[in-house]
Structure formats: structure tokens, C-alpha cells
Assembly symmetry: C2
Homo-oligomer: 308 residues x 2
């Protein structure tokens, strides 16, 4: 039991209900039904039905096994929930997972804001486009205000041109951060979900083994303890493998995040600085530097003015 006790060093009681809780309760009820059905099928029947029953029994056995597993996990979950059970905690890893979830939430906020910025900015550029045309028209039809309308028309047209370039840069930023958040981070969070399920399973079989170890040691009990020890080892291996997977993925994700965000935040800053400093040349150079390709004019959504 030295393996078990070394693992118990991090056990703490918690009151948080894991994400899979309600689903487990529902499936547990279904499983009990199948379990009872499976038990009744073990009664000896007529010899002609035995082959068919053999296949059915095999299938029901796997359902029974799954049902027992689900029952154990649900019991463990409730024990943790009501502060009676104990859970295995890797403090460092859980802190890293919390940081990842927090970072993802903050990057999602940046994505929402940058997307809103694109929308408002695009509407502004479209308005400037029409404003430029109106100023040009008035410049031609108002001899006494020709110059005033004229230079306003020129300014609006130049802003439109630069605006399209900035829109391209912000769209590229949004697209890259979106891939980081909704593909790369999401993939790691899926592994984390598997890891958290494996942790619950492992704790369920660990509790089982602990309970049996504290009971009387007759022949039947020793067999049950041996079986429980085997189950414990299987689930401990699975838990450790997934913990290792999560650790590696978190490390690579962190490196990837810093690399992607360093590049994207630099692009975002340089493009915005160039645009709002009226530096058309620097804006164009930024787009070339970060390999941002502008969308052809026709591929954009229709102007809000056209939609009216």
C-alpha cells in the first residue's frame, strides 16, 4: 500500500461538483436498470437459446462494467460534493489549468472587442466613402466653396483607402487570435476534461480499495482486495498518463501562445499606430511585414447604407 499512501499526500476535501455531474446521475439510473436485466439473464434457460444468449450476455457484461464504473464515479462525486470523500489534487497543474481558463476568457474578450472594432470601423469607412463622394459632388457644384469641399473630399478618400488596409490588419489579428483561442486552447481544454474525468475515476477506485483494506480479511475479502488493487492500478496509470499529456500540452500551448500573441500584438499596434499617425507607407509596410493579404473589395459584407 506504499503506492497508495504516496498518492494520498495531496488528497483534500472539496465541495465543487465536477462538470460531468448531472450527466452521470442520469446515466446511473439507466445503468441500474441494465444491471438488473443482465443479472436476470444469467438464470439457466433452454439449450436452444444459449448461443444467442452468449452474445447478449457478453454485451450486457460490458454495459454492467460501465454501469459499475459510472456508479462508483457518481458516488465519489457526491462524497466530494458533501465533504465526506477525498480527492487527489496536483496543486501546480490545477493552478496552471485555472490560469489557462482565465487567459482563454480574457482572450475571448479581446476577440469580441476587436470584432466590434472591425464592425464600427468598417461602418465608419463606408460612411467616409459616401461623405467623400458627396463632398466631391458639392465641390463641383459650389464655385464659392469649391476648395473647402475639395480638400475635405480628398481627406475622406485617403482615409477610406488607409481604412481598408487597417481593416485587413485587424481582421488578420482576429483570425489568428481566434485560431489560438478556439482551436489550440480548446484542444488542450479537451485533454484537461479527459484528465479531470480520469482523476474522478481514479479517486473512486482508490476510495473503494481504502474501504476494503479497512474491512475484515477473510478469503473472499482478500480476493476482492486483489481485484480492487488491479482496478486501482489501471485507473492510476490512466490518470498519470493524462496528467502527463496535460502537462506537456500546457507547456507547448504556453510557448505557442507567447509566440502567436507577440506577433499579433505587434501587428495590431504597428498597424493602428501607422493608420492613426496618417502614415500610409508604414501601414503598407506593416501589412507586407506580417504577410497580411487584403480581401478583394467585393468579398466584404454590404454597406450598412446599402442595407437600409
Amino acid at each position: 500500500m506504499s503506492t497508495l499512501s504516496s498518492f494520498m499526500s495531496h488528497k483534500i476535501s472539496v465541495k465543487s461538483l465536477p462538470h460531468c455531474g448531472m450527466k452521470l446521475i442520469r446515466t446511473c439510473i439507466v445503468v441500474v436498470f441494465f444491471y438488473l436485466l443482465g443479472s436476470s439473464n444469467h438464470n439457466p434457460g433452454s439449450s436452444t437459446e444459449e448461443v444467442t444468449r452468449g452474445v447478449a450476455v457478453e454485451k450486457l457484461d460490458s454495459v454492467k462494467k460501465w454501469g459499475i464504473n459510472t456508479y462508483k464515479c457518481t458516488r465519489q462525486m457526491f462524497s466530494e460534493r458533501f465533504g465526506r470523500g477525498s480527492r487527489t489534487v496536483d496543486l501546480e497543474l490545477e493552478a496552471q489549468i485555472d490560469v489557462l481558463r482565465d487567459t482563454k476568457s480574457k482572450y475571448e474578450q479581446i476577440l469580441r472587442l476587436a470584432t466590434a472594432l472591425i464592425d464600427h470601423f468598417q461602418s465608419m469607412v463606408q460612411t467616409q466613402q459616401v461623405l467623400g463622394d458627396t463632398f466631391t459632388d458639392l465641390s463641383q457644384k459650389s464655385p464659392e466653396l469649391q476648395d473647402e469641399f475639395g480638400y475635405n473630399a480628398e481627406t475622406q478618400k485617403l482615409l477610406c483607402k488607409n481604412g481598408e488596409a487597417l481593416l485587413g490588419a485587424i481582421s488578420f489579428f482576429v483570425s489568428s487570435v481566434n485560431t489560438l483561442v478556439n482551436k489550440t486552447m480548446e484542444d488542450t481544454l479537451l485533454t484537461i476534461k479527459h484528465y479531470e474525468n480520469a482523476r474522478l475515476e481514479f479517486d473512486a477506485y482508490r476510495s473503494d480499495l481504502e474501504e476494503l483494506s479497512l474491512g475484515p480479511r477473510d478469503a473472499a475479502a482478500v480476493v476482492r482486495i486483489d481485484m480492487a488493487q488491479q482496478e486501482y492500478q489501471i485507473h492510476r496509470d490512466k490518470y498519470e498518463r493524462l496528467r502527463s499529456d496535460v502537462t506537456i500540452k500546457l507547456k507547448f500551448l504556453e510557448e505557442n501562445k507567447v509566440k502567436v500573441m507577440h506577433k499579433q500584438l505587434l501587428l495590431f499596434h504597428n498597424a493602428i499606430s501607422a493608420y492613426f499617425a496618417g502614415n500610409q507607407q508604414q501601414l503598407e509596410q506593416t501589412l507586407i511585414q506580417f504577410n497580411v493579404k487584403l480581401q478583394p473589395p467585393g468579398s466584404q459584407k454590404p454597406s450598412w447604407l446599402e442595407e437600409q
Copy 2:
């Protein structure tokens, strides 16, 4: 009849229905009723009722006069409408009026666009504000990307500050152009409306006089011609007075328009150029130069983010 013929030099047939057409038709029906009622009241009644009737007759006489005038104008309007009648036209003045209506329509378009620009720009500034705060937060919580989030936060905050100044400038532009379009131009257009009604009245009494002049010249006809000549003179004077008013107002409006628009287009251009060149000092100087006062932050409409 020399006065009349001098006036006829500009008569042309038109098919356009004046703005007041439908209203005149409706009032005409009501007036005929009152007219008939007025005629019946002229029968001699008992002596005790005569004083009361005296007042009533006086009132009904004015209604009758108004009714006749409305009837004449409606007839003239239909004559013009169906190409039978002739109308007095001041070609130069009508061209000026057309230009004013066209200018007003174009300036209204500028107002709509500038107001839309304010809306989009305000939404953009509010997004930049939240984006700046999010970047600041992430700069503090991401040691490995502290600089990248940091300079982006600074840029967004600076843009917000300059954005508020530009919003003040565009709002001032919109407010001034709005006064020009919806107060000054509208006032001149009201005088033009009165002038157009006076032109219709004048043409109605002119047609009347022409009709009578072509008829037989017995004693009764001569009296009617004299009365028609008087009416013609009254309405000709009114028409000429209003034509003069319109001419003067158009002249002052043109001067005022050039003065206001010269100033506002310069402000619009200088503020936008300074903002989109990132020249905070020049933007502030522009606001001082044009005496633009910024609204206190609380007086603006709530952010679209807060409204969600």
C-alpha cells in the same frame, strides 16, 4: 392695361401642381356651403334680429371673400395643371430657388452622413476604451507579454482621448450645419412658400381681369372690370413685395451659407486631419481656434456596450 402686358412677358404654361393644391380643393367645398348660407341671410328679417345679424353678416362676408379667393386660386391651379392657363415666372428667381432646394437636400445628406460618422466613431472610441482596459489588465497578468499588451493599452487610451476631442469637433460641425439647414434655409423656404402662394393668387386675379377685358363693355361690365383691376393691383403688389423679400433673403442666405460653411468645412477638415495624423496638439488648437467646447463625459448617451 400697359402694366398688365408688361407683366405678361414672362407667362408660361406649366403642369406642376402647387404644394397647397389638395388643401385648397377641400377648403373650397366648405366655402361654397358658407357662401350659400351667407346669401340666404341677406333676406329681410324682423327688426329685432337685425343687430345680431349685422355682426354675423360681417363675419360671413369675410368668409365669403376668402371663399371666392380660394375658388379663384383653385381654378387657376387647375388651369395651369391642365395646360390651359398661364403663369407668371421670374426665371432667374426660380432658378435660384431650385438651387436652394437642391443645396438644402445635399446639405441634409451631409448632416445624415456626419451624424452617422459620429455614431460609428463614438462606438469605436467606446470599444477602444474597453480594449485599452483589457490590454492593461492582461499586461499586469501576463509577465511574458507585458510589453506587448502594455504599449497596445497606451495606444488605445491615447486614441480614446483624441477621439473625444474629434467627436466634439464633428458634433460642433453637425450642430452648426443643422442650424444653417433647418433654421436659416427653412426660414427662407417659408418666405418662398408665401411668395409662391402670392404668385398663384396674382395669376388668378390676372386671368380674371383678362377674361373680363375680352368680354362686352356694357355699364355693368365696366364696373366689374374696375373692381377686377383693383383686385389685380392688390395681388400684384403683394406678389412683388414677397418676390422682393425672397430676393433679399436669398442674397443674405447665400452670404451666410458661404460664411458658415467656409468656417465649418475648415474646422471639419482641420480636426479630422489632426486626429488622423495623430497630432494631438494640432487637434486641441483647432478646438480652441473654432471655440469648440467639449461635452462633459457624463452628458453623452450610454455606451453600446453598457446597453447590451
